[in-house]
Symmetry: C2
Subunit: 472 residues, 2 copies
C-alpha cells in the first residue's frame, strides 16, 4: 500500500491510537483500502508515524475486534472482506421531521392534570431525601415484578377503607398508567376475549384496543350507565366500565345495575368486568361511591386505580387488583414484566401514604376542587344562562349542554378563537349515535386557577353569545 | 316497617349519618328490607333515633346516590329493586394465595443488577432536591408522550459521541424497560411482521412474543453472531440482535456480518433490525464497539438502549431510537401512550448526564467491573483448572464450559447445594440445538462484592470437584 497520508496530532483530545483507528476505518469504509490488502507491520507503521508500537497495536486491535481487519498469526494484518461497504460512502441525509405546531390557549378546561399550586413538594422532597439517604440494595435492583411489597400493602389498606375494595396486597399489580395495565390484561385474558367499552367513554380504550389489534365493541349508555341488553347482545366477554363516575357523562351506576352486571359476568367462565375507578376520590356531596369490586363475590371484577388525579399524572403510578385466579395466572405467565415504576418512587409514595400525608392531601384537594367547581357552576349560571350542567357533583370535570343554536364543532371553534380550550363530547364516542346531541361539551376544572375561572367563562361568553360579540 | 333496631352511638369516630347509612345498606343487602318497602320519613326517623333531620337526610341521600333507595317526590323513600342481591349474603371466601418459597443463596452470579456499593447516592440526592425544589408545572403534568425533551436531547448527544448512533432527539422514545419498548414496537410495526430472535438469546424476547401472541423464530448463531442464511430462510421480517456483545455468548458481530444484515434489511420494505445494545458501555480492552445503527444508511435499524446496567435497573429508564419513517408513524398512531417514566426522574437523569456525572460514573464502574472480572477469571483459573472461559472481555457476564463430566443440570444443582446461584446456558435457548453443549454456564459478576469473589469460587470448587467434596 501507498504511504499513509496521516499526520498524527498531539494537540487534540483524541488519542494517537484513536486517530489511527479512525483513519483506517474511514479508508477501509470508503474503499481506498481493498479487501485482502496487507497493512504495514506495527513496527513500520510506528516508525513512519513517529509513534510507539503500542499505539499502533491498540488501533489494530480495535479494528480487528470490530472486524475491519483480520489478524493472521505470524503474517500480519489484512483488510477484511466487507460486502456492501460501498453503501457507506453515500450518506443519505433524511429530512428532519416537521412537527405540527402546538396550539396556544389562554385557558384550558382540561380534564387531565391537577391543581398546579397544591402539590406537597416540601413533604415529597423530605421523603425523597429520606429514601435516597437509606442507600439500601433495594434501590439498585429491579425488585418485585408486581411492585414494591410495602407500597402494595399500603394501597391494599387504602382501597379497603376508602373504596370498599376486598383485596390483599398479593392481588395488586403496580404499573405506570392505565394503558400499560390494559396491555398486561390483554395478554393475561383469553386470546379470544371480546372487549366491550362504554360509548361515550374514555377515548384511550378504543385507541388501545385498536393498536393492540384486539376487537372492541362500543356499548351505549342510559341514565344508569352501560345498557345491559346491548352488552348481552354484543357477545362481549370482557367489559370496561367506570361505574362510580362514568367518563365522560359523570353518571353513577346504581347498585341495581351493578348487580345485573355482576350477574352477567358470573353467567359464563372467563367473563370479566374491568372497573376503571379513575377519579372516585373526589365527590363533593355525600361519601364516595363504593367500588363495584366490593360487591363482587365471584372474582369477576378487575379493579383499576391510579394516583394521576389524586396526586399527579407526572408520577405515573397506577395499579390493578386482580381476582385470585387471575393473579395466579399472572404469576405464571407475566411475571417476566418488571414493574415499570422506579423503586425510589414506590418507597416515597409508600411512606407518604403510611404517614397520613395522602389522606390529608386528598381532603385538602377535595375542598379546593369543590370550591373551583362551585365557582365555575356559578360563573356559568351568571354569564351563560343558556348552558345546562349535567353530571353528579363529583370528579374533576362535568358536561354542559349549550342551547344557543351552535353545534359542537362551532362551539369548540368559537372558544378556540377566544383562546379557550374546551372538548366536544363526540371525541369520546368510538361510534357516534344516530341522533347527535347538539352542543354538548366537557369542561374540566382541576388545572384552572381559582382566580382565572371567572375570566375564562367571560371568554366563553364572548365566544358563544352573539350579542356580546357585537358589543365587544 | 318495624321499628329500627339501631342504636346510634356518639362514642365512635363513625358519624351518626354513616352509622345510619351502613345500617340501611346492610338491611337492604341481606333482604331484611324488601323491595318497594317505604322507609320512615326523615322527621319520624330523626325523632325515633333522637338525631337531627340533617343526619337522616345525609344518610338517605347517600343511599339514593348509590341506588339502594329511590326518592319519590312528595311521597318519600322506597327500597330499590335489586336483582341478585341474595348473592351478597353468602360471602365466598377465596383461599389465600400460596406463593412458592424463595430460594436462598449465599452468592449470586447474577447477570442482572449492578454493583451495590457504587451508586452515586449523594449526587443523585442533591439533584433530586434541586429538581423537586424548582416546583415547576412540568412536574405535575404528564408531559411529552415520547419523554422529556431535555432528557431526549441529552441521550441523543450521548449516543452520538459514545455509541456512534446517528439520531436527533426527535427520534427517541423514552420508556421503562425493554419489555415495554418491545410492546410498543409490536404495535408500531406491520401486523403481519414475523420476528426472528437469536438462539441462544435474551430469554425475555421469546416470553414477550409468546405473551403478545406474535410468532417468533429462533435463529442459530455461529462465531460471528446470527447466521444470515438461516435468517433468510426463515421468512422473518424483523430480527432482534445484540451485535456489540451478544447475549449470552458475548461474541461481537464483525463489520462484515453487520453489513450483510443491513443488506438483508434493505432488500424488502418493512424489514427491520432491532439492535439491543444492552451493556455496550463496558468493554475492558480497547474502545467500545460502535453501534450497528451507526452503519445504517437506509433507516432500517431500531436501536434499544437502557440505563439498567450503566446506572441501576431500579431506575426503569430505557429508550429506543426509531428511523424517521417509524417516528412519523409512532406520532400518528401511538402518541396516546404517555411516557411511563416519572417527570422528576427524567429531569434528574438529564442534569446527571449534562453535568458529566454519568460519564464519570461509567469510567469508575468500567474500572471496577474490569477488576472484578479479572479477579473472577483469576480465581477460576486457580481453583478450577477444568473450566474454560468464553466471551469477549466486555459486559457484566461471561460463559464458562466446565469439563468435569457433569452436565448443566448437575452443575447448577451442585452449586445450589453450596448456596451458589449460577445459570445454565439452556435457559437462553428458545429452541434447544440437537447437540447440547455439556456443562455450559453463565456467570455474572456485577453484584458480587470484590472481596466475595474468591470465596464464591471456592464454593463452586466444593460443588464441582469431587475430590474436594470428599475431603470437605
Amino acid at each position: 500500500m501507498a504511504t499513509i497520508a496521516l499526520h498524527l496530532s498531539a494537540n487534540t483530545s483524541v488519542t494517537l491510537a484513536d486517530q489511527l483507528y479512525s483513519y483506517f476505518k474511514e479508508e477501509i469504509s470508503c474503499g481506498n483500502l481493498h479487501k485482502h490488502e496487507k497493512l504495514p507491520s506495527k513496527r513500520t507503521m510506528a516508525s513512519q508515524l513517529a509513534c510507539s508500537i503500542n499505539t499502533v497495536q491498540a488501533a489494530y486491535n480495535q479494528l480487528v475486534d470490530e472486524g475491519y481487519l483480520i489478524a493472521r498469526e505470524k503474517s500480519g494484518y489484512y483488510v477484511a472482506e466487507l460486502e456492501g461497504i460501498q453503501h457507506l460512502g453515500s450518506i443519505h441525509q433524511e429530512e428532519s421531521i416537521q412537527l405540527p405546531k402546538k396550539e396556544h390557549y389562554r385557558y384550558h378546561f382540561s380534564y387531565q392534570g391537577v391543581d398546579y399550586d397544591s402539590f406537597p413538594f416540601s413533604v415529597w422532597r423530605k421523603m425523597a431525601k429520606e429514601v435516597i439517604q437509606a442507600e439500601d440494595k433495594e434501590l439498585l435492583s429491579s425488585g418485585d415484578p408486581k411492585g414494591h411489597q410495602g407500597l402494595r400493602t399500603s394501597i391494599a389498606r387504602y382501597l379497603q377503607y376508602s373504596r370498599g375494595v376486598n383485596c390483599s396486597s398479593e392481588q395488586i399489580i403496580i404499573s405506570s398508567g392505565t394503558e400499560f395495565l390494559m396491555q398486561l390484561l390483554i395478554q393475561l385474558l383469553d386470546a379470544d376475549s371480546l372487549y366491550a367499552i362504554e360509548n361515550p367513554g374514555y377515548e384511550k380504550f378504543s385507541l388501545l384496543f385498536k393498536s393492540n389489534r384486539v376487537p372492541c365493541i362500543p356499548i351505549p349508555l342510559d341514565a344508569q350507565g352501560l345498557q345491559l341488553e346491548a352488552l348481552e347482545k354484543s357477545k362481549a366477554t370482557v367489559v370496561c366500565v367506570s361505574p362510580s363516575h362514568q367518563f365522560p357523562t359523570g353518571c353513577i351506576m346504581p347498585v341495581s345495575r351493578r348487580l345485573q352486571l355482576l350477574g352477567w359476568a358470573s353467567e359464563q367462565r372467563e367473563r370479566y368486568i374491568v372497573e376503571d375507578d379513575y377519579d372516585s376520590e373526589f365527590r363533593y356531596l355525600g361519601k364516595p361511591i363504593p367500588s363495584l369490586q366490593g360487591l363482587d363475590q365471584q372474582g369477576r371484577v378487575i379493579y383499576l386505580g391510579a394516583f394521576s388525579k389524586s396526586l399527579s399524572p407526572a408520577l405515573r403510578i397506577s395499579y390493578m387488583v386482580l381476582p385470585n385466579q387471575l393473579i395466579r395466572r399472572y404469576e405464571k405467565n407475566l411475571q417476566f414484566y418488571i414493574c415499570p415504576v422506579p423503586t425510589v418512587e414506590q418507597k416515597i409514595l409508600q411512606i407518604f401514604i403510611d404517614r397520613g400525608h395522602f389522606e390529608r392531601h386528598l381532603n385538602r384537594m377535595r375542598n379546593l376542587y369543590k370550591q373551583k367547581r362551585e365557582a365555575l357552576v356559578e360563573a356559568l349560571h351568571d354569564k351563560l344562562p343558556n348552558v345546562e350542567i349535567e353530571g353528579d357533583s363529583a370528579g374533576l370535570h362535568f358536561i354542559i349542554h349549550v342551547h344557543n343554536g351552535m353545534d359542537e364543532t362551532a362551539l369548540v371553534a368559537a372558544a378556540r378563537n377566544q383562546m379557550v380550550q374546551v372538548y366536544g363530547l363526540s371525541r369520546y364516542y368510538s361510534s357516534l349515535p344516530q341522533e347527535t346531541s347538539d352542543g354538548t361539551l366537557l369542561l374540566g376544572f382541576a388545572t384552572l386557577r381559582f382566580e382565572e375561572i371567572d375570566d375564562a367563562v367571560s371568554h366563553l361568553k364572548k365566544a358563544w353569545c352573539s350579542e356580546e360579540k357585537t358589543r365587544s
